[in-house]
């Protein structure tokens, strides 16, 4: 029996009768999806709808001399052929910079390339036709005369004087640079008993959402309104941006988001081809649909990571870590992505390295450079996998150098659980973390001493297994500190509007969005509990800028902690309003009443007074019977944004147990553990599955996934035959445990859980791999993904 049934609790930690908080309530939207009745944008068909296909640059960098499209224009089914300069009359370009990333710069990016294509895959011409197939047929008839330009592809040489500057008006290829010194790293390294240094390399990979990016834009000249059906994580953000660049009021734009086939940070950015699609709809005055095919996904969905980090750690013989130092270089393609910029990941790496540990001495530099490759931007766990793998890789190197157990060195250096509030070396602020409790718990879950004994025993039989840890911190519940302070028009707060209808059902309209994480379930659990009705009476509405409170959407693990708190508070407010109405009907004191399981009761003894639907019936249909002067308000809105802390940091630890086939270089993952602390657990099953999905995404980065480019900027493996993904057969079972340290910034106390798995998995797998091969004196494996070839090279076998 593997399916744990949801267990009904009595009073929860949040002290409400019949609480749904802490219960594994099934998500309300799942039956639809299991029956193939989802409503993904790819499925959508509208009257008069046409399809756009983009002719994309085959060159990484080329001047567009002429575009000959005569034949295409007269091809069957073709409605329009539109070039970059033509579309630039409809939609203005954008620049992906924010003021809080000091000095970040980028160049204007157009919906369709104007004069010059800057990466292989950038759209240079659009063909709109009755069907996608006809649009693609016509693309093949377009003749573009390109003048190939030098492609800057190597981040290492992008800043050399001899390297051409991609955007000459910017002066150089440097997008952003940040340097930080804390404490006295030079003195600390000098006083260390050992200093270990290496360079970690993180390959480019990408999100590979199962449903590619999809958008249907419908400009209605009769209404002067644009309705956009878009698979996005942030509808209000895209509404604002579509309006701005089409020169419309934002009230003229409605963004609707129904089911989204995976997001992971891929669908939170502005993409040129989606901007082109909305502009084409405005131009053609009819619905236009664009769905990326898999090759387009590989060449235009944001890529992630692609960091090279020179890193150093100092340690004393007793295991005390004295200092960390990093020098990070990352290549982000030809444009900083709009509107969140492509500087955030490197900035996060600087913030997070060394974060779990007490060492106050830290030197960091991060440089972000332009290249003629696909754009790079924020993807699940932004910066965390890099910072964690670098930190934890260094800690394991230090342990090996001084001959200390890898769990023990962590125990000696992790910030003590009673030392909070605390400040990390980079200046990040921690409200309360639980590193030691998490470490203790994972060691017990693994039966660590037994596992070590097994590992040693098997070596004698030529079986090489490794155990790798990764302690981590995770940025969740972001306040305006993430984007708003830098000028991005991305809502940091979120809201929930509740409406009691005439039968006692509650409609919840929320600014957060659902892409499968279970956000709608979290909202329903919060409202059902704080208002006091069975969860079946809750109806959730998200993903519609006309019908939800202005909000940020779902990203950076903000949905439960921020959107959930707003819904929780709205439930309380609606309860107070309903009880005021009930009290006026019952001639009672509202303070002496409560709502439990959909019934108005005496709060002291639970005696039933009247059903909720009776209150609603009187308020809506017989308000004439209410006392004079009493006006019932059965719609309420509440908002929430974290104020006490810029981010709710969470923490946890992962462990990987794996076996290396030293003849083939193949890595077999035997088991994986994660203990994390996301504060109040609203729905244990959903948290566990966020962790498991995230771990597997991190394992993909560690072992398989890599966007391979040649030196001319050609992507070599932009398909699922050549780009390896984690599939079921290679993945281990993942055991998840929790430590609960609620944030005091909200009443719910929930922090985020979406990044934890992806944050820690690559580092723990890397450490396990090196742990397995250490007795064989293998070279250190520090370049992800760890392919069989790289493993064999480390062993000196090839």
């Amino acid at each position: 029996m593997k399916i744990a049934e949801d267990v009904v609790s009595g009073l929860s930690a949040l002290d409400r009768p019949n609480s749904y908080i802490g219960r594994s309530v099934p998500r309300p939207n799942l039956d639809r999806l299991t029956q193939g009745r989802g409503q993904y944008v790819s499925d959508l068909v509208l009257p008069r709808m046409v399809h756009v296909a983009f002719l994309r640059s085959p060159h990484a960098h080329a001047r567009i001399k002429t575009i000959e499209a005569g034949q295409a224009k007269s091809a069957p089914g073709v409605v329009a052929v539109v070039t970059g300069p033509e579309l630039a009359k409809v939609i203005t370009p954008w620049v992906g910079v924010l003021t809080h990333l000091k000095g970040i710069k980028s160049a204007p990016q157009h919906a369709i390339a104007v004069d010059r294509a800057c990466w292989q895959g950038e759209a240079v011409c659009a063909v709109v036709a009755k069907s996608r197939a006809e649009a693609e047929d016509a693309c093949a008839l377009i003749d573009v005369d390109y003048e190939p330009l030098f492609a800057v592809t190597d981040a290492e040489t992008a800043l050399d004087r001899a390297t051409p500057v991609i955007h000459p008006e910017l002066g150089d290829n440097l997008t952003f640079e940040r340097a930080l010194v804390a404490g006295d790293p030079d003195k600390a390294f000098a006083e260390s008993d050992a200093v270990v240094e290496t360079t970690f390399v993180f390959g480019r990979h990408t999100g590979v959402t199962n449903e590619p990016r999809a958008i249907v834009a419908d400009w209605n000249p009769g209404e002067q309104r644009l309705t956009v059906y878009q698979g996005t994580q942030a509808p209000h953000m895209t509404q604002d941006i579509f309006a701005k660049h089409l020169n419309l009021g934002s009230h003229q734009v409605r963004v609707i988001t129904k089911d989204v086939g995976g997001s992971f940070g891929i669908k939170v950015h502005i993409y040129a081809d989606e901007m082109a699609t909305v502009a084409l709809s405005k131009l053609l005055k009819r619905p236009v649909k664009f769905v990326a095919d898999r090759f387009e996904s590989f060449t235009t969905d944001i890529h992630a990571r692609d960091h090279r980090v020179r890193a150093k750690i100092g340690v004393k013989k007793d295991g005390t870590i004295t200092a960390f130092e990093i020098d990070d270089l990352t290549g982000i393609g030809p444009y900083s992505v709009y509107p969140r910029t492509s500087g955030i990941e490197a900035n996060q790496v600087v913030n997070l390295v060394g974060g779990p540990y007490t060492s106050p001495n830290y030197r960091a530099r991060a440089r972000v450079v332009f290249q003629n490759k696909n754009v790079m931007c924020q993807y699940r766990a932004v910066g965390h996998p890099i910072a964690t793998a670098v930190t934890e890789g260094l800690v394991d190197l230090a342990a090996a150098k001084i001959g200390m157990d890898t769990a023990e060195i962590r125990r000696r250096n992790l910030i003590a659980d009673d030392a909070y509030p605390a400040v990390g070396a980079s200046g990040i602020k921690f409200e309360k973390l639980s590193h030691h409790a998490c470490l203790d718990k994972i060691l017990a879950m693994m039966d660590y001493p037994k596992l070590r004994a097994e590992q040693v025993g098997l070596r004698g039989r030529g079986i090489y297994r490794g155990i790798g840890f990764a302690s981590f911190i995770e940025v969740t519940n972001p306040s305006a500190a993430f984007y708003g302070v830098g000028g991005a028009r991305i809502s940091a707060q979120d809201g929930a509007t509740l409406r009691l209808d005439a039968t006692g059902a509650v409609f919840v309209h929320s600014g957060i969005t659902e892409q499968g994480q279970g956000a709608e379930s979290i909202l329903a659990q919060c409202v059902a509990t704080s208002f006091g009705v069975p969860i079946e009476r809750i109806r959730i509405v998200t993903g519609d800028t006309d019908n939800t409170p202005y909000g940020g959407g779902t990203w950076a693990s903000r949905a439960a902690g921020i959107g959930g708190e707003a819904a929780w508070q709205a439930g309380k407010a609606l309860r107070a309003n309903v009880l005021a109405a009930a009290a006026s009907i019952l001639q009672a004191d509202p303070k002496a009443l409560d709502i439990r399981a959909g019934i108005i009761v005496d709060s002291d003894n639970g005696r039933e007074r009247m059903p909720l639907e009776e209150v609603a019936r009187i308020v809506y249909f017989r308000p004439d019977t209410l006392p004079p002067g009493f006006q019932a308000e059965l719609v309420v809105t509440r908002h929430y944004v974290p104020r006490a802390w810029p981010f709710a940091f969470t923490n946890g630890v992962q462990a990987s147990y794996l076996e290396v086939d030293t003849r083939t270089g193949m890595v077999k993952l035997l088991k994986h553990w994660c203990v994390e602390d996301c504060g109040t657990v609203i729905n244990p099953q959903l948290v566990d599955e966020q962790v498991r999905g995230g771990v597997v995404q991190g394992i993909g980065a560690a072992l398989y996934e890599h966007c391979l480019y040649d030196e001319t900027g050609q992507l070599l493996n932009g398909n699922l035959m050549d780009y390896l993904l984690p599939m079921a057969n290679e993945m281990p079972d993942i055991e998840v445990g929790h430590v609960v340290t609620p944030t005091a910034d909200s009443e719910l106390g929930a922090k985020g859980a979406g990044e934890a798995g992806t944050a820690g998995a690559p580092g723990s797998v890397m450490n396990a791999l090196n742990d397995a091969l250490r007795p064989l004196n293998a070279a250190l494996l520090v370049e992800m993904p760890f392919t069989p070839e790289r493993v064999l090279r480390a062993l000196g076998r090839v």
């Binding site: 029996m1 399916i3 193939g36 590979v208 199962n210 057969n729």
Partner: protein, 161 residues
Amino acid sequence: MSARHLDINMRVNGEAVSTRVEARKTLVDFLREDLSLTGTHVGCEHGVCGACTVRLGGEAVRSCLLLAVQCDGAEIETIEGLSDSGAITDLQSAFARRNALQCGYCTPGMLISAHELLANGTVPSRSQIREHISGNYCRCTGYQAIVDAIEQVAQTRATAK
């Protein structure tokens, strides 16, 4: 030169379909665009991700690797048909209770693969389940919940016999 369009006859979810179809059209595009059966999804269009899995003559196949005209005379079942017939209700319920889907995009194909695995009534091991669904890509779940749900249905069906 062969005809650009051909007449085809098939049964889809038990209903007779007689129509004229573009010769180059894949089965998945035909199901989605011509028959509005949008429960079958397009993920990679080259036979790797499994989102387009349907049943052709009782066998799970990739509808992106078949042309509609190849299916002339065939019997096809999609997630809509399997849902309406009740054939996989227990699997669907187990997937929902175990949260074996997040975005749900892979789910119709995953369910059809699972349905095929469990068709002979045996209880597969977890590694056999993992191997059988290793042609169905899921980015959200990390697969464990899917394995759990399939395993439980196999055990329940075996107990009920």
